[in-house]
Symmetry: C2
Amino acid sequence: MATKEQMEKVKDIVVKLRYLECMDNIIYYDRWNNCPKDGFDYEGKVGAYLTELSNEKLTSKETKELVESLEGETAFDSDTDKGMVRYLIGKYKEAVQIPASLQGELNQANADGQLAWGKCYEADDFESFKPVLKKQFDLQEKIATAINPDEKPYQVLVNRFDKDYRLEEIDAILAKIKDAVCKILNAVREEQSKIDDSILECEADHDTVLRIVKKAQEILGLDKDKSTLFEIHHPVCVCTGPRDSRPSTNCDELIHAILAVVHETGHGLYNYNANDEVAESGLWGGIEGAMHESQSRFYENHVGRTREFWENLYPYLQQEVPKYKEISLDTFLAALNKVKPGLIRLKADELTNTLHIIIRYEIEKEYFDGKLTVDTIEEAWNRKYQEYLGFTPKNHQEGILQDVHWASGCVGYFQGYALGDAYAAQFAHKLLTDCPDAFEKLEKGDSSAIGNWLKEHIHQYGQTYSAREMLKKATGEELNTDYYIEYLKEKYLH
Amino acid sequence: MATKEQMEKVKDIVVKLRYLECMDNIIYYDRWNNCPKDGFDYEGKVGAYLTELSNEKLTSKETKELVESLEGETAFDSDTDKGMVRYLIGKYKEAVQIPASLQGELNQANADGQLAWGKCYEADDFESFKPVLKKQFDLQEKIATAINPDEKPYQVLVNRFDKDYRLEEIDAILAKIKDAVCKILNAVREEQSKIDDSILECEADHDTVLRIVKKAQEILGLDKDKSTLFEIHHPVCVCTGPRDSRPSTNCDELIHAILAVVHETGHGLYNYNANDEVAESGLWGGIEGAMHESQSRFYENHVGRTREFWENLYPYLQQEVPKYKEISLDTFLAALNKVKPGLIRLKADELTNTLHIIIRYEIEKEYFDGKLTVDTIEEAWNRKYQEYLGFTPKNHQEGILQDVHWASGCVGYFQGYALGDAYAAQFAHKLLTDCPDAFEKLEKGDSSAIGNWLKEHIHQYGQTYSAREMLKKATGEELNTDYYIEYLKEKYLH
């Protein structure tokens, strides 16, 4: 049994690690919103110092002894205590396994890679991007080996984000999903191609877009006292405290801006809804990877693409953007939910989005298995796009150069979106079992039944449990992709 | 002679202390600009942790030994080395002298005091404010005693901001200034009262005010890549890095907004203009107290109230605010520079501003000398206002309750404004000796001669020197208030 004294020490360290993490997030937010251009360099140094402080804390003699005294311990006073210990041990291991110099090299490569990607993307120049990609993948492999030399590097990289999945299991899940999605796609492709989705394109000035996305957040029940909306090229949600979430959007295209803000608001709600005990323990903020994406995907797809949601937002949209006065909600919803396979992931519909994710996962896996090199990776990419989606990129921009993820160090993350989709459908099913009228209430403008269910069954626990445990606790089952496949069939083949 | 190894250690600590200070400033900025209401509490905790980290670093065995090995050392390789050692020893002493618990108590009292002041001010309730003020002054006295029990508490408090002045010296300087200002005031009072300054009041919407203050910053040569403008009730300049200054303003009243932004821009330029060596050593940002205020006052009064500055801004103002098309620049400048004694410091003209400062300094001094209590302080305040300015407050709001400084822990700071005015005039005199055509250039829209002189002679050195040393280095003289008095006479009695 972990002692009270041990747990006080654990809590003290966890809470302080979160303070440092939050400072880093505040800097991240500051860079995108306030920092003048010439201030970036110094903020980068401050951020590196925060990493150093965090590392010092984790690798201190005190932490080492504490972790060693608690490893293997299974009896705890509460789930929160257990969660704190798991959190600390996880962070400790990373800190002692990854040499600081290697972590520093990676941070630099991520920053450099992001810049290089921007230039190569603009110039549609994959040749110049190859050494950047090679460097990044080499570093990722070094990190994987540092963490666990006895494991396949890609297994380690995936587990950095989705801690409790073996590759074989992910392979099987994704294969099942891919198979179902491809079948549905083949069945609806022709019929769906007839839907006119050009109505989704519309001119709306910046302030109008902002007003509409704020209205969307209001319908979703986002608490203004706990959130700040901001704008950024690639939307994210910055979590800067247990009661402070900052979802963002990109206001260039109205409908995209709405779906993006709904997605990020899902992250935001998950972040700020921890109960007081969890918030004080430092475990607030939600489980990284598939579980966090399940909340954003839930809001994006199971809420943000539904008639019930738009019954509330559409009148407002019609008022703000006169062209929609001429267009019925039915017509609008058909366009919004149109299946439209294509080459660009960020423009993908709900159904084929998963195929984009699977392609990236498969390519990462093949690369780290030694089956691909930076010289053959593009050919693999293009072949898969032709096979799964029916298109071959005409240039690098609409192909291998479209995502910044790899260049900026995000390797081993993509499967989380696909797993998150499966989680989201399982949650949606359970929510409807528990609260059959949740969506009738939403139709009347009240999203609280949905929000409360998620808060009670998932959000309040923050990072107390592993993703797998949380899923089981909330739905009573292990991951069952049938819910996701049934949901897709119901939606597209009804 | 300080060794290379010692200096490397000193630099490492100073640079890291500045990182932590900057993080705290970024949080401060974030609270006023981005943080949602419910996020304040957590950011407060993060801030307290940063203070803890800073304190840990300063009171560590390593720092202690380093400081002890360097105390009394006078031979250094460079002025920057000397400056770093002085900086570190100053911070070290504060950290070891002030118990962490007392510092924590003060931080809490400052936060509570600020809130209490807001309520008492709104309710015009000085009676309820008395215990708040008493608590704050008691804590300040404890801190002074902790730092140096053998010194008068007020001497210690003043030296926390203006490090190298004895009270007797400040007394003599302020007495001389007060005497001169009162004489000028008596001589011009009647004549000045005839000037119509109602033209300064005007309706201007928020965006118009913002455009005009940005134009003012442009004329002052503020580098957009190194600065971010923001809005706040009481304008400040937040310094978040060696190349990152954030001046603010309050857009409620146009002319006040302009003068405030010119003042804060002075702080901002001082902050970001350190040379590379000084920036890398952590000594960037300028010398606290009188020297920093001399730069803001210089810009506010010696630039921002001049014909040469307004020759550039006034046409823009006339274009943005049509009512000024009917008003000549002469008429406008007379109103802007009108001597108008009154009760409110923040609305004071350039001449009588100093009297407000002196009143606060005298009251602080009398209080800590035991001559005043919170029960007699208001009577003293009112008596001095009648004596120096010719008015007695009709309520607490326009009297003792007007400033938030004391409630929020800013005790021992006011003299810096008055000394800063004297410094500013001395700098202005030297600038004109070195560059006789600096203001002719400004009249043509080119502020670079002024900016470059300040950068070359003051800004580039950051905190390398003490205020006294810096003044001597830049002007060749010790503080000579004759320049300030001559400047005022020239301006008002010509």
